[in-house]
Amino acid sequence: MSSESFDLTREESDVGGFGDRLARYVFFSCALVTVLTTLAIIVVLVNGAIDFFAEVSLVEYFTSTEWDAINETSFGIWPLIWGTMLITVGSAVVALPVGTLTAIYLSEYADPRVRRTVKPILEILAGVPTIVYGFFALSFITPILQTLFPGTGTFNAAAGAIVVGIMIIPMVSSLSEDAMSSVPDSLRNAAYGLGATKFEVSTQVVLPASLSGVLAAYILAISRAIGETMAVTLAAGMLPQITTNPLAEIQTMTAYMVQVGTGDIAVGTVGYQSLFAVGLTLFVMTLSMNIFSEWVRARYREEYQ
């Protein structure tokens, strides 16, 4: 079509008067706000972290295995990272298999009517505020764990991991389903023609063909679990420690930031400055996961006509 060559998005503003040029600059500055936001986040975190590392050595931060910011005695980040990892791995164990199987069911097996009902329900699950998940963990999941495993504390890593797992199921399932649905039917039909069963088509054709999208969904969901705050604060507690017992109380990086934010540590102290160092650590972790996810999607994408 000849209209393809007529680009509507360029340079017409030269035609208009002052108002037209002004509009362009106003809209451009709106878009610039997003870039400034990123810059501001980086400046704020790095600036705060520099103040913190003037008092505490980087070596201590990355090698000490004890975190006691309230008494300002030791600032080793590992207990907080460990807590975050416990929650992240636990929630991944819950959400990745469940989310993937849900995606396969919705994409390959469910009839359109079921899909139209189930997808909005899962979207609701994704829209529930995280504070509500925290309450759900405290009032529903932890009591069940306490019945199953007597001696489980009010705050424990397992309840936090389960509830964060539930929270990220919709993310895994909807992004994976998008990837599976975009696998062309010709691939499925070819496999059926070779005598494959539906199970074989789903697991040996569709899943491998959509792998880049599914993996990208996994990484995004894990990144979300790392940054999750309120649910883990309420469910998993405020005790920074390195433990392999999932029923013990722990503290994640985010929960520590909440602890400082609620005023447990006085403003201006080294403990308070640690907020920005922990925030920077969290930001770097989630940002690299997100970039990695994008890279996986681009690198391993299968192109279909």
């Binding site: 209209s3 007529f6 998005t9 360029r10 340079e11 017409e12 503003s13 208009g16 037209d20 509009a23 362009r24 106003v26 809209f27 451009f28 709106c30 878009a31 706000v33 997003t34 870039v35 936001t37 501001a40 986040i41 704020v44 600036n47 199987l101 849900t102 396969i104 069911y105 919705l106 097996y109 469910a110 329900i121 829209g127 529930v128 505020p129 504070i131 509500v132 309450f135 759900f136 009032s139 529903f140 539930i166 199970f199 789903s202 995004l220 790392i226 940054g227 999750e228 705050t229 309120m230 309420l234 985010t254 930031m257 909440v258 907020l275 920005f276 925030g279 969290l282 989630t286 940002l287």
Partner: protein, 311 residues
């Protein structure tokens, strides 16, 4: 009929097929069960919240400020109280004002940025960078936005732990989602309409103002309301900015630099208190929060449906 003896001796392994079928059935069962996990979890969550809140959610709960004593929240004690009953009123009003301010800010910034990217932006490195940056911002944890708000608005711009600081922080938080959804709405406006407008001699800005925006605004509104319904439930950013937990008077919209409380913050405060009965109070607060969320989503869906029918 010519018979081939070879076909009679064709050895068909029925057990392998049976095993395959069984495996297939087991797999469908597993997939279905997995799908149910999400649905059952949602039902369990809603039932849990409603049963915990049952009997504690009263009109007084909506209209009175919070109390330090859990007895004050119990409707059974209402008659015997020296003070008024305990409730969520200041936080409820705080949340509503917070969302009103956030809506105003995001409407301008979000739609403006989307218009630039869809209608004006040239195909340059800078544009690609802006779009990639927006995608990355959407993945930044909300508590990091809280730190940004604390350092930039509360401290540097000296707004204090105010309604304004909270609203600005929430604006930056949902801006990436608003921009992406507004971009989709603008993209859905057919180019033929833009051409028709240029054909009448309209300038670009006139075209956007008179043709593109009116056509895209229902979609944009749906996106903004859905994003705001995410913002109203956010706790971590307003917590870092310093939302109060025990405000006895609601903030005033005319004084945006006043201190404020908001529902998620108040719920968090109740939920972590040790007295068992505070769980009921927190649940009652959650029911109020979820009801408002539901209403906002209903409005968004109504706008979307009306818009789709017109198409």
């Amino acid at each position: 009929m010519s018979t081939d003896t070879d076909t009679d001796s064709f050895d068909f392994d029925g057990s392998a097929l049976r095993r395959k079928r069984l495996l297939g059935k087991a797999f469908v069962g597993a997939c279905f069960a997995a799908t149910m996990v999400g649905i059952v979890a949602l039902i369990a969550l809603l039932v849990d919240v409603v049963t915990e809140a049952w009997g504690w959610l009263t009109w007084e709960f909506l209209t009175y400020p919070p109390s330090r004593f859990v007895e004050n929240y119990n409707p059974a004690n209402y008659g015997a109280l020296d003070t008024g009953p305990g409730g969520i009123y200041p936080a409820l009003i705080g949340s509503i004002y917070l969302i009103v301010l956030t809506a105003i800010f995001t409407l301008f910034l979000g739609v403006g940025a989307a218009i630039y990217l869809e209608e004006y932006a040239p195909d340059t490195r800078l544009t690609t960078f802006i779009e990639t940056n927006i995608a990355n911002l959407a993945g930044v944890p909300s508590i990091v936005y809280g730190l940004l708000g604390l350092a930039m608005f509360v401290r540097a711009l000296q707004t204090g732990s105010s309604l304004l600081a909270g609203a600005l922080t929430l604006t930056l938080l949902i801006l990436p989602i608003v921009i992406v959804s507004a971009q989709e709405s603008l993209r859905a406006v057919p180019d033929s309409m833009r051409r028709a407008s240029y054909g009448t001699g309209a300038t670009k800005w006139q075209t956007i103002r008179n043709v593109v925006l009116p056509e895209a605004i229902p979609g944009i509104m749906t996106g903004i309301i859905l994003s705001l319904s995410r913002a109203i439930g956010e706790t971590a950013p307003i917590l870092m900015v310093g939302a109060a937990t025990s405000m006895f008077a609601p903030p005033r919209l005319t004084q945006p630099t006043d201190a404020f409380s908001a529902m998620p913050m108040q719920i968090f405060d109740w939920a972590r208190l040790p007295e068992a009965d505070f769980q009921h109070v927190a649940a009652a607060g959650i029911v109020v929060l979820l009801t408002i969320l539901l209403l906002m989503n209903a409005v968004a869906i109504l706008i979307r449906n009306k818009y789709n029918r017109r198409r």
